[in-house]
Symmetry: C2
Subunit: 113 residues, 2 copies
């Protein structure tokens, strides 16, 4: 399992545990920020899209959503700023993929409710 990553941008698996607590004021703020990032149907769709094509896509996202390219780009930025996805420039296009570590963290925080 020391092989290269399968795609240009998606990181290899990172199974290191997250030791941060799932409660307390910091966790509250963190959970609120992550939830806020997911709190729009278009962004949920983007996450699902990236999960389905386990590899990463780019402007195909724009084609899947009934939104202008600039709007989709803005939603991608929200998800990226929240740490939920990663975007890597791949030639003329940008390649997005999930950030599994943050997804796991989100599940842990929600699980703590």
């Amino acid at each position: 399992m020391t092989a290269d990553p399968p795609a240009a941008c998606c990181p290899p698996a990172d199974d290191r545990p997250d030791l941060r607590p799932v409660e307390g004021e910091e966790a509250d703020v963190e959970l609120a920020a992550l939830a806020k990032a997911i709190g729009h149907p278009a962004r949920v769709q983007i996450l699902r899209l990236l999960a389905r094509r386990s590899a990463c896509v780019c402007g195909e996202i724009v084609e899947e959503l009934p939104l202008a390219q600039s709007t989709v780009s803005q939603h991608l930025k929200v998800l990226k700023d929240a740490g939920l996805i990663r975007g890597e420039i791949d030639g003329p296009r940008t390649c997005y993929c999930l950030e599994p570590r943050t997804i796991r963290r989100l599940k842990a925080l929600i699980g703590g409710l």
Copy 2:
């Protein structure tokens, strides 16, 4: 464990499974709405507070948060409209508690990511 509910307002446990799918457009909108409701630190704090005092509280929430009473009431309304909590009028005060069914649903939807 078939005893009466311990408090006036909190419903007894409801273990019926939720058969709705965790994917698809409806699930996307549902997840986005729930996440949006959680997407504010004050509301996360409220949920945690209600979870800790497994019974339900009322205006104590106002004392715990650095916000005006009307603002807290507004946050409670957001959570209630999302179905995450339940509020029941108990004499002169209102008694809030978690809605475990919706919390479970949220966990299922997040788990589907």
